[in-house]
Subunit: 298 residues, 2 copies
């Protein structure tokens, strides 16, 4: 879209922190980029960047402007999507930011199912921790977020909430596998693997351990649930995860048991978008379809 080129350049300069670096990124001369920005500032009626000895940085006016442009770009995409919708061919693009737990099973299934009936719709999926997911929404980098226990910033508008009890994951034959429901204190007596601090599962575990005057003493701390799933097969340790990211079948060598709700309250898997934003048709429909699928889980 030609008339938003200036914004692309402004955003590049903002990211690079200097006109020359941005010019390099955008395959253009620094002089040309410099003049574009000067011309824009002139037309806009105010400087957008403050000139520092080592480069440039957005000033408050620039911050306002960039936010305006982001809204504008997202709104234009929505219009294009609506137009494609009324011309009969369901096209569009949906960008989803989601927690790791949804990567192996839930999201692939949902996207594949949606694309079956709407082959023209394309997707981009970003794995994000709960904080980054919300930031992606408010910078319009993602349309939809599906996050476990988000920090719940003001910009996050919840569309659906599904409780998820934390489960314990272990190798077959592990002593804890004999009980149907596990207590946290028993778990902490065994070697355990936990996710790093930015994740909701860890957050809940930390809080619960503190309440029980116990400390989490992980043998391994990781930021990949995929890693943790595989790790318990090698060392006889336990891992923690929410059930939506788990499929255990006979012969897989793994066992899953829920943690008692008395120790660790269930966390919430939240489906949401940016507050007040009107989503493109495709994104709105997909979000709706996600909502139905989540409802069926409970």
């Amino acid at each position: 879209m030609k008339h938003l080129q200036d914004f692309a350049y402004i955003e590049a300069v903002m990211r690079a922190g200097s006109i020359r670096k941005a010019a390099d990124d955008m395959n253009i001369t620094a002089s040309a980029l410099n003049r574009r920005i000067q011309r824009f500032e002139d037309e806009f009626g105010s400087e957008i960047f403050e000139r520092l000895p080592r480069g440039v940085r957005l000033n408050p006016a620039g911050e306002l402007l960039v936010q305006h442009f982001r809204v504008q770009v997202s709104d234009l995409r929505r219009v294009q999507s609506q137009v494609a919708d009324l011309s009969g061919i369901r096209r569009g693009h949906v960008s989803v930011a989601c927690s790791q737990a949804l990567i192996p099973y839930f999201m692939p299934e949902q996207i594949a199912r949606y694309r079956e009936s709407h082959p023209g719709v394309t997707f981009s999926v970003s794995v994000r921790d709960r904080e980054a997911a919300e930031r992606d929404l408010s910078t319009f980098r993602s349309d939809i977020a599906l996050v476990f226990e988000p920090v719940l910033l003001v910009d996050f508008e919840v569309q659906m909430s599904v409780p998820q009890t934390i489960h314990v994951l272990m190798r077959e034959g592990h002593p804890l596998a004999e009980q149907p429901v596990l207590r946290l204190r028993d778990c902490l007596d065994h070697p355990h693997v936990v996710p790093s601090r930015q994740y909701g599962v860890r957050h809940l575990l930390d809080a619960a351990a503190a309440r029980g005057s116990r400390a989490i003493a992980p043998v391994v701390e990781a930021d990949s649930f995929d890693f943790m799933r595989h790790y318990v097969l090698h060392e006889n340790a336990i891992a923690f995860q929410i059930p939506i990211g788990l499929r255990v079948w006979p012969g897989s060598g793994m066992v899953v048991r829920p943690l008692s709700g008395r120790d660790v309250p269930p966390g919430n898997l939240l489906l949401g978008q940016m507050r007040g934003r009107t989503l493109p048709v495709a994104s709105a429909r997909f979000a709706q379809s996600l909502g139905l699928a989540l409802e069926a889980l409970t």
Copy 2:
């Protein structure tokens, strides 16, 4: 603003109904304009005009696009206004659509008072009947509307409502001037001058007359309240108007009496903006100031 030039051309074509006429209006060649539009449609991904034998017309996609652009332009103005605001100099432009009754006294006073404390803010005032005022809001031609008894379309967001009893205006010495409050049936027995049908005052009078099984039989019907005010000085007739547009002083030769609320319920003078829109700083502040002034009226 350079990057919205395409929109200016598209809007011109929309208004003119043909590319050649629009090109003439915009002081450009038809071929250049034609190519601009073709290029835009190409980038946008869909045609936005349907080509007719006698010109072009927006198709549904174009309607969506134009609406998007209008929001965008208004939003950009808001950003510019915010920027001017944070740079210390209170500048900006406020556009108001209002009913005729506010033209002689209320609006001039309010605008002058506001400009006393904010000399950098400029104004445009449009006299609009109630339907046109609301249309102006939804096409972003006006920021604020102050209308008597609007039709209340969905886009109109009411910020303040002030009841206004319809008053009867007559020459000194008119027989009706002896009563402090007038009944509608008595008024209709005398020669009367009424506003034309698009106005709120007429609307209320028509409804009330129908309820009383009486018919309005005006000797003159006019669309200018200024005209009607002056007319009663020449013929011994009565006119109807709301008090906010009236100032009667001893020696002016005019008398004003309220209509009984039993016959004609008071109408409402509504202050409003487009639903969901974030106004520029200057407009928002002026609307607030208008609200206070209206509140003081009651």
